[in-house]
């Protein structure tokens, strides 16, 4: 498991990271325009309403785009090649993650591949949402 640079939550993002520790993918939705959004902020980035609330997302996503890194970030030297991806969550927002549970080869990673969230504990405070193919490894 790579030794990752870990995030430090801010007041606005604390709920996301608290949820991750409980294996819940916490997003916000705007009650005025109905749209879910990420990253966390206390107002809707589309319609600017501050009538927003947290909910737990399904954890289902599809592979929006990715690279297979052969150039390790600090802490990832023993993990190359690895997949850095942007996934589109079922609820609409996109987020960066890693794709795990599958050999990091282009033929295993077609664009729009269905994915499911999986959790990787890093510390007492931080657990990261990673994604794996929802049908299991091919």
């Amino acid at each position: 498991m790579p030794k990752r640079p870990l995030p430090q939550p801010t007041p606005e993002t604390q709920e996301f990271w608290d949820g991750a520790r409980r294996h819940e993918l916490r997003l916000q939705r705007c009650n005025a325009c109905g749209r879910a959004y990420f990253f966390p902020r206390p107002f809707c980035p589309r319609c600017a309403s501050d009538d927003v609330g947290w909910f737990t997302a399904s954890g289902k996503a599809r592979l929006y785009s990715y690279v297979i890194s052969h150039r390790p970030a600090p802490g990832f030297k023993d993990d190359v090649p690895y997949v850095i991806a942007v996934v589109e969550l079922e609820e609409g927002p996109r987020m960066m993650t890693n794709i795990v549970g599958v050999e990091p080869k282009p033929e295993n990673l077609p664009i729009d591949l269905p994915l499911q969230v999986t959790w990787e504990r890093q510390s007492d405070e931080i657990t990261l949402p990673l994604f794996e193919p929802s049908g299991g490894a091919p």
């Binding site: 995030p7 430090q8 990253f39 785009s65 690279v67 297979i68 850095i84 960066m96 282009p106 990261l128």
Partner: protein
Amino acid sequence: MSAAIVGARETEMVGVIPDKSAIELHAEAARAALADAGLTKDDIDGVLCAGQSPVAVAEYLGITPTYIDGTSVGGCSFMIHVRHAAAAIAAGLCTTALVTHGESGRSRVGMGGFGQSPQMLGSQFESPYGVAGPPTRFTLPFLRHMHEYGTTHEQLASVAVATRRWAETNPRAMMREPITVDDVLNSRIIAYPFHLLECCLVTDGGGALVVVSAERAKDFPKKPVYVLGTGESSEHSMISQMHDFTESRAFKVSGASAFAEAGIERSDIDHAMFYDAFAHTPMFALEALGFVGKGESGPFFEEMRTAPGGDFPLNTNGGGLSYTHTGMYGMFAIQESVRQLRGEAANQLPGVRTSIAHGVGGMFHAAGTLILTNDERA
């Protein structure tokens, strides 16, 4: 048309300059551009730069300005500086503006750190996933473009090949060996689908510009280069939040603004400089600026239309891929546009009347566009 570039120079060397610090590269370029314009530092009342603070650059050069602008949004900052200088001059905030760039990107002499608080949004939502700078972030959108439009690996490689062909005949270019599409595809994979030769260089260097009102443009030794249209925009600070991975919204807004101000058509452009941090960047620019339709840039590059002899001469200095790339390359794109419009370029094209210099900041984070002309009637 309110402003003109009357001084433009790069540092004497570009490439590997281990004996100069970043701020000295600003100063060397600034002093050369002042000489080019027949001015002294005491004529300057506006200072604009990125990387270093304009306060530090003004102090280093011995200038007391009435206008300072430290817009620092990556490699397109200098397109934006020219735009802001034109606006500041028109508003009477200064008369003679100096735009400087200097970066010890390769030798790392006198450079600030890249240290970021773990509370920054990028540190929370991107850094934990092993991104290692631009090669693993800037490149992320491209597989989506391939998927949506059938863009191929060979087409991406063609950008690097076409650009290298210009560098082959530019003595100042760092990489001048001819390359083929196969050479590109056989070079080391950095972040699939990107190979080493599809990634920009990392170099040292600098450049500077002097901007004055168009009315004064003919009072200087060199042929004036008029600022015909300008644009700027921004989109996201994290690549994962780019609205559509197949097009840059910042590019579209900035480009549309520049063309609207210039009042000319795409077909009126004689020469283009599109910031090429990675081989896909000029593809995104070609589409977003409206020179081709969405998804049509791949075949355009594969047909070598941007290479010497093609009908769309692009990145004629050899670009960030083969000429030089200090980190914030946009200054060098503007310098080549100015050289082409003055008739001073290493790969001089015949009869250039209009040139577009379009820059990207960060990983499609921001954009800046300049449409320049040597025609005072424009």
